[in-house]
């Protein structure tokens, strides 16, 4: 039997960030991951580092995390590209929502610019005519998430963390048992994303499927991560399925096209009708996409809690059991802050931001 100060279950970007921070704080860490590092939702994600402002707690966690991401901005394999985010207003109503959005972001310390229609087309000439304007967030960036997860795990391992390429069979009192019957003793931190339901069924979590399409290299067609201002309606609505215009220039010159959200589909197969809806939406904003080639299409599952906030903290009524899961579509952005929030609580330290909105106790009677 091996004893650790922390057993991180899951090496997606959230688990990787937890293992990295805990090992940096001098903890003896075990990482349990049966698959490739960053091979789940992390590999499927767009890798857009973005402050979402529609929920104050989400904004606080995004903001905190974005600062932490700066420490990885020079890591070559992270492919950190500060392209900025450009939120696009389709009409006057969306344009009118921008001042309030800017005020919320400014209050959290996020710098933004209001963009009139002329400036919009100067910044992104490929956008369809007739758009009203937008808002630019110049400091935001995109990264390549699986490589970051791998880096964080490698860094933890260099500090002495031990990697177990096994599955957790059971959570047991004071530790976990692996599928080869190895028992690891110590506090466990469950960071398994959508697989949470198998280990901690008391914390409700649904899987929300998404599709992404990537094109061949077409450098210069778009310059910013482009989103429609209506994105939040798709992202946070509870519709069974929705699509939104969300397009990213990869540093390679490839264009990554999203996004779709779908409850009720649990298989990873590409749904052609969903792809069609998503692309049809993107053509309305970027007609030039129509003649480009799709190289690959893939799917992934976002872990969604009932209120859309992640579970970060101690699992109620359990001995030495912690959780960091349920980040929906913001797991890449908020991974670094999430790790600090959980590990600081585990160490009995004050957290940098208020941890109570993410307390798993909120859903457990």
């Amino acid at each position: 039997m091996k004893t650790y100060d922390l057993i991180v279950v899951g090496a997606g970007i959230v688990g990787a960030a937890c293992a990295d921070y805990a090992s940096a704080e001098g903890l003896r860490v075990a990482i349990v991951e049966p698959g490739p590092v960053g091979g789940g939702a992390t590999a499927a994600a767009m890798g857009h580092l973005v402050a979402m402002d529609d929920d104050p707690a989400e904004l606080a966690l995004s903001r905190y995390s974005l600062e932490l991401w700066e420490s990885l901005s020079n890591l070559p394999q992270a492919e950190f590209s500060r392209c900025g985010t450009l939120w696009v207003a389709s009409n006057e109503r969306e344009l009118a929502s921008i001042p309030a959005k800017r005020a919320r972001l400014a209050a959290a310390g996020v710098e933004t610019e209001a963009i009139d229609s002329d400036t919009l087309y100067r910044l992104e000439p490929a956008l369809a005519p007739g758009l009203a304007g937008g808002m630019r967030v110049p400091g935001e960036a995109v990264v390549y998430p699986p490589a970051v997860a791998r880096h964080l795990v490698d860094r933890a391992v260099e500090r002495g963390a031990r990697m177990y390429s096994r599955r957790v069979a059971h959570i047991e009192y004071g530790g976990v048992r692996l599928d080869d019957d190895t028992r690891l003793q110590g506090p466990a931190l469950i960071a398994t994303g959508c697989a949470l339901a198998q280990l901690l069924p008391t914390l409700p979590l649904r899987a929300r499927k998404g599709h992404l399409v990537i094109t061949d290299r077409h450098p210069g067609l778009v310059h910013h991560q482009l989103l429609e201002l209506g994105y939040a309606d798709s992202a946070h609505g509870d519709a069974d399925s929705s699509v939104a215009f969300n397009v990213q220039p990869r540093p390679t010159g490839q264009i990554l096209i999203g996004s779709s959200r779908e409850f009720g589909s649990s298989t990873p197969e590409v749904s052609l009708p969903m792809v069609r809806r998503m692309l049809a939406r993107s053509f309305r904003f970027l007609p030039a996409l129509r003649q480009l080639d799709a190289l690959r299409i893939w799917t992934g599952f976002r872990p969604v809690s009932p209120d859309g906030r992640p579970y970060l903290g101690r699992v109620p009524h359990e001995h030495q059991l912690w959780v960091a899961a349920g980040h929906e579509g913001l797991g890449i952005t908020t991974s670094l802050g999430s790790a600090r929030l959980v590990v600081d609580q585990l160490l009995g330290r004050a957290t940098a931001i208020d941890a109570s909105p993410y307390d798993p106790a909120r859903v457990v009677a």
Binding site: G35, P36, V37, G38, G39, A43, Q77, P146, A147, R150, V213, T215, D216, S241, I257, E269, V270, L272, P273, V275, R276, R277, M278, L279, A280, S282, F283, L289, R290, Q291, L292, D293, A294, L295, R296, I297, W298
Partner: protein, 429 residues
């Protein structure tokens, strides 16, 4: 566009053409699609400067001019649903529904990495043939042919017919193996005649056994090839190197459909019964996609598949003896031309494996599974979708390929996003 065919044939090479013709002989309405602009597949590829052999002319003409055959050129399969293929041509995307589907997707070349293989001037052996027939200028160019198998003779003959100076054919198999193979040809008189003909056309062209291309050298284009033969290492200046290590089946569409595959060495091929029927009732497969067997077995299997797909099993039954005879030739070919260990050791740590994303062999060190290696290095994430590097890595015993997802080939976004592309019932917006 949205069409229904009783029998839809994918691939217009010898197998697909035979399938189309057989199916129409029972009154079926047939769709015949191919990604190339002209029918014939690779073996009967249209040559812009030379007339086609008479068998090719008859086979192509017989299928394409039939009133019940719709010939859809430059049409590539993008995705599948039960009973339908989604395809695109240069103008538009379409959905093609079928009663029965015949996969005659043929083969591509096995291209193995070696230092310098990315230089302009280095092509596949079949690749050079294909390019020559497209009008690629070879007159007066010094061409060296290397790799393995009878395809090298055909490539040399094509190059010579197009005016190239063929410096030599360098077969990696040893002289004994080649002699044994040649000796066994008497069982297949048509093949023996073909081989003799090729030798006639290649009078004066050196044929060297046990010879391997170690490196291709040049700055921005090929200048010199370094060979290792039974008598040591030599450097040969040349303009084109045509090098291929045989053929491997194009199973991607079959895989996407869920057809059962079996492995021949490192590479998958489609499993069928004697009717060329796969494990999916409505899907048949014929020719190279079922295992490399050459033109004759492709023709007979195509005909069997076409008859069976049209519901005429007695006509298909009559062809069984021909099928067995033709397949036996493939067996002989495979056992005689195993690849030499030297071929597997050619790539050095800095040799690029993935040519789309420029990933070197050593970049993949330390990864034990395909997915981790791919996520970390982008190997296989480029436009060829891993068709070149995936097959090479499988042959080298490094990684095996993964599953298939649409798009089957890079597809225009407008094809995937067209509103009239899918059955109306699935449109929710």
């Amino acid at each position: 566009m949205n069409e229904y065919y009783d029998v839809l044939v994918v691939g217009a090479g010898p197998a697909g053409l035979a399938a189309a013709q057989a199916a129409t002989s029972h009154g079926a309405r047939v769709g015949l699609i191919d990604a190339q602009a002209t029918a014939g597949g690779q073996v009967w590829r249209h040559d812009v400067r030379h007339a086609a052999p008479s068998l090719a002319r008859r086979s192509i003409g017989g299928a394409l001019t039939h009133s019940r055959v719709d010939w859809l050129a430059r049409t590539q399969v993008v995705a599948v649903e039960t009973g339908s293929l989604f395809v695109e041509d240069p103008r538009r995307g379409s959905r093609l529904d079928y009663g029965a589907l015949v996969l005659a997707t043929g083969a591509r070349e096995l291209l193995l990495p070696f230092p310098g293989w990315t230089l302009p001037g280095v092509t596949g052996a079949g690749g050079l043939q294909a390019l020559a027939k497209q009008g690629w200028p070879l007159a007066g160019r010094r061409v060296l042919i290397a790799g393995s198998g009878p395809l090298l003779l055909a490539a040399a003959a094509t190059a010579k017919r197009h005016g190239a100076t063929v410096l030599g054919i360098y077969e990696q198999a040893g002289a004994d193996a080649v002699r044994r193979f040649a000796g066994s040809l008497w069982r297949w008189p048509a093949k023996a005649i073909q081989a003799a003909l090729l030798r006639g056309q290649l009078a004066g062209v050196p044929y060297r056994c046990g010879s391997v291309v170690r490196r291709a050298l040049g700055d921005s284009t090929l200048r010199t090839v370094e060979l290792e033969g039974p008598h040591g290492i030599e450097q040969v200046p040349c303009d084109q190197l045509a090098i291929g290590y045989g053929l491997l089946p194009n199973v991607e569409l079959a895989q996407l459909l869920g057809c059962e595959l079996r492995w021949e060495g490192a590479h998958p091929q489609v499993s069928t019964d004697i009717w060329q029927q796969t494990n999916i009732d409505t899907v048949y497969a014929a020719g190279e996609v079922c295992g490399i067997g050459g033109r004759d077995s492709a023709r007979v299997e195509g005909a069997i598949a076409g008859h069976a797909a049209a519901g005429a099993r007695s006509a298909a039954m009559a062809l069984q003896p021909r099928r067995r005879h033709a397949r036996a030739f493939a067996e002989a070919l495979r056992t005689r031309f195993a690849l030499d260990a030297r071929v597997y050791a050619l790539a050095t740590p800095d040799t690029l494996i993935c040519r789309c994303e420029d990933v070197a062999l050593s970049d993949m060190d330390g990864y034990t599974d395909t997915r981790s290696a791919k996520l970390a290095t982008r190997c296989g994430m480029g436009a060829c979708q891993g068709r070149i590097c995936g097959a090479a890595l499988a042959e080298l015993g490094r990684f095996s390929g993964g599953g298939q997802r649409p798009p089957l080939f890079p597809a225009r976004l407008s094809t995937l996003g067209d509103t009239d592309f899918f059955p109306l019932a699935t449109i929710e917006e």
